[in-house]
Amino acid sequence: MFSEASNVSAGVDKVFAFIIIISLIFLIGISVFIVYTLVRFRRKKGLKAMQFTDNIKLEIIWTVIPIILVLLMFYYGWIAFAPMRKAPPDAMQVKVIGKMWEWIFDYGNGMTSKELVIPLNKAVRLDLVSEDVNHGFFIPAFRVKEDVVPGYNNYMWFIPQYIGNYEILCTQYCGLLHSNMMSKVRVVDQEEYEKWYADLEKASKIPEAEGLIVLRNTGCLACHSIDGSKLVGPTFKDFYGSERTVIANNTETKVIADDAFISRSVYSPDAEIAAGYNKGLMKSYTDVLKEEDLKKINDYLKTLHE
């Protein structure tokens, strides 16, 4: 009945159960009593209202019992929470970087991943860092959450107890694509983890295309994917050289996505709007991207074909 996905989840669920059961007893009990009162004492001839105003004994009882119950809730809530703040010193450390609107997992030595991949039954400590505004790092299945605040070194830790994929969501509002700021935790066995880690290490040694670095540093990838998925803007996959339907001066026309078109789109994005997208979503990058950066981007885009 209680989630065992992480070492803290069952503890949290027990507190949920405790508070919900007590709450339901009160809610249903009082509601039934109110309905009973409304029916039993409804106004009719011959039934006079009683005129009592106090009953000290009763009032003491219904003050003391709630005090005891809320203190118990406080206590259990605290006990289940306390381990969340005590990360074991030998926990595996991963740095989580939150930025508008993506999560990056930094495994050290220049190795980064878009997914959090961790081995089963090992304590993991996540150091939460923000590059811009507040974010919230939330893994619902594990019952862990902590804000990612710029200038603060927040952290969380847990032990994953089941192999599987789990959602990561952003819970602190961070602007336009807050609701798309998602990722996944992949819990794998030790063997698979080591293999994945070795691949990551290998990949990190291959220098990245210059164009990709420009795209990432300029923030283009927040709205344009390179893997074909739809974000705020069109994807860059199979983009270069393809025929695009755009709306210019309120009329629909077709153009080929070549250097000239890309240059126009970057420097005056509202002149030609890709069909199906809205005006004003993209700002002009006139003083941000230089001609030579654009060339690097174009070279890179040419490689993004199956």
Partner: protein
């Protein structure tokens, strides 16, 4: 117009003063006219903000983009929040019913400073208009959420400064009203009306006024600091400028948590007036209710940190705020028991005001009990910043303050306008509103626990059922609200004349004609006993 005794008098609605027509209202310092002006402004804004909410719910009927872009959605929930919080729920009950009924309930002819009262109204109006203008001026509606969390609120290119200034001005209006009511209650009570003989609605207004005066300046200065940060790049909160974003959260919630009590205390006060009248029975535990209002107001200052349990605050401060949060729940629970005990053994007439008051208890209980889940540290981690929180505070704010406002409107409408609405139709509207409300918000408690974050334009497929139910509920709820509105508007036009005391109430407002004359009382009454005296009682002092 004639009152029940056949004496001729001129009601505040027909009073002719120095000015005629609209000016007679706009320049009136009569607390009743000012109360009504607030009422019309607030009701208008309420329906604007409801429409924004409806658009958001419609967007969320399916995952992905349905009827609007994410930028529009983010603007909508921001403006919905700003209007609802700063223009409606924080001032709402105290400026409408506080203005209209506080002086009458304590046997006074007006508030202590009638001109200041009018100034408060105009500051309020100015702030409200600015909040709406922030939508249309500058670079698009603010998209920061009503909480204006830094650094996003410093970096967002939208019209944030305008919205902040609006909130600042609204805050000033609130402070002036608070001062006015405190002085009124201290200085203007009728002869013989000691504090312990004062009805409980004025008691709740009294506790509220102190929070308004003491807490509002903090949000005022905080908002100004954000303005300074945006306009002059002074680093208070933005780490890029050397500031501390968590400091902003502290300052924001030091006000905004007590603000929750600014809205709920008068709501409690309103229903506390209604239970005795419709049960024909004195309030049970008068002293406990009065004291618990002050206790809530006091402890309410020291629980703000529970809004920041996941922000990285220290282990000790989490413990401290969790404990205090649990303690503040107790006086609210005591009030619930007292209300139920007030009805028990009475002669209960289930008219619309009582129906809304009972609905208030039920929804307020759900709001309070879900608050316990958020107060406990372990469960807070799971539900913090999720739809669960959204549902929780709508249960408290809308289910609590909103239903109390509806209860108050149905209770005092015949007194304010001298006319009686269609009771059957009002009952039907209640059923629709109550059903829609629960269908709207209950599913959000469930998906919130499952991990649906708040302020999400889009959502994962597993949350679809809950989201769709919620949207259907919102349509039902709004249908009910419109039914209520139509009923009241129709009554205003051609309702039947209401007697001076349709509910057989015993507090002072029911001893004067409906609608009341300009200065309420021909002769200031002398108070010889506690309020809510319906006949013989053994315990009467």
């Amino acid at each position: 117009m004639a009152n029940q005794e056949g004496d001729h008098y001129i009601s505040y609605l027909d009073q002719q003063g120095k000015y005629r027509g609209l000016l007679a209202w706009l320049l009136s310092t009569d607390h009743k006219r000012i109360g009504l002006m607030y009422f019309y402004v607030i009701a208008t804004f309420f329906f604007i903000a409801v429409s924004l909410g409806l658009l958001m719910r419609t967007e969320l009927i399916a995952p992905g983009e349905t009827i609007m872009s994410p930028q529009t959605y983010n603007g909508l929930f921001t403006v919905h929040g700003i209007i609802m919080i700063f223009i409606i729920v924080i001032p709402g009950l105290s400026v409408v019913f506080g203005n209209f009924f506080l002086p009458i309930l304590i046997g006074a002819k007006d508030v202590a400073f009638p001109k200041l009262n009018l100034l408060s109204f105009y500051l309020f109006l100015l702030g409200a208009i600015m909040a709406v203008l922030s939508q249309f001026l500058g670079d698009g509606p603010p998209d920061t959420g009503w909480s204006f969390y830094v650094p996003y609120s410093v970096e967002s290119s939208t019209n944030v400064i305008f919205a902040l200034t609006a909130a600042f001005i609204l805050g000033f209006s609130s402070i002036l009203t608070g001062i006015n009511f405190i002085v009124t209650i201290h200085r203007m009570r009728a002869p013989g009306m000691t504090f312990m003989r004062m009805p409980l609605f004025p008691w709740s207004i009294y506790a509220t006024a102190w929070i308004q005066v003491l807490a509002t300046p903090i949000i005022g200065i905080t908002l100004l600091m954000v303005v300074a940060e945006r306009a002059f790049s002074i680093g208070f909160f933005d780490p890029a400028l050397g500031g501390d974003p968590i400091l902003f959260q502290h300052l924001f919630w030091i006000y905004s948590h007590p603000a929750v009590y600014i809205m709920i205390l008068p709501a409690m006060g309103v229903v506390t007036e209604i239970f005795p009248t419709f049960s024909q029975k004195p309030v049970f535990g008068y002293t406990a209710i009065a004291i618990s209002s002050l206790t809530i107001a006091f402890i309410g200052y020291f629980v703000w940190g529970h809004h920041m349990f996941t922000s990285g605050t220290s282990y000790f401060s989490r413990l401290f705020f969790s404990l205090l949060t649990f303690l503040v729940a107790v006086p609210s629970a005591i009030k619930v028991f007292n209300w139920v005990a007030t009805m028990y053994g009475g002669s209960i007439d289930l008219k619309p005001p009582l129906l809304y008051a009972v609905g208030f208890i039920f929804l307020f209980m759900i709001g309070g009990l879900t608050g316990l889940i958020q107060g406990a540290l372990a469960t807070n981690i799971q539900v913090h910043d999720t739809a669960f929180v959204v549902a929780h505070f709508h249960y408290i704010i809308f289910g609590g303050m909103g239903f109390a406002a509806f209860a108050g409107i149905h209770y005092w409408y015949p007194k304010m306008f001298g006319k009686m609405y269609n009771i059957r139709f009002a009952n039907i509207a209640w059923v629709v509103i109550f059903t829609g409300f629960n269908l709207f918000y209950f599913p959000q408690l469930v998906i919130g626990m499952q991990g649906m974050p708040r302020r999400y334009f889009d959502y994962l497929p597993q949350f679809k059922t809950g989201q769709v139910l919620s949207t259907i509920g919102s349509y039902i709820l709004v249908t009910g609200l419109l039914m209520m509105l139509i009923n009241l508007l129709a009554t205003r036009k051609k309702g039947k004349t209401a007697p001076a005391n349709p509910w057989k109430g015993v507090t002072l407002e029911w001893q004067i004609p409906s609608p009341p004359p300009l200065e309420n009382f021909d002769i200031i009454p002398e108070i010889k006993r506690r309020p809510y005296f319906f006949g013989e009682s053994k315990n009467e002092k």
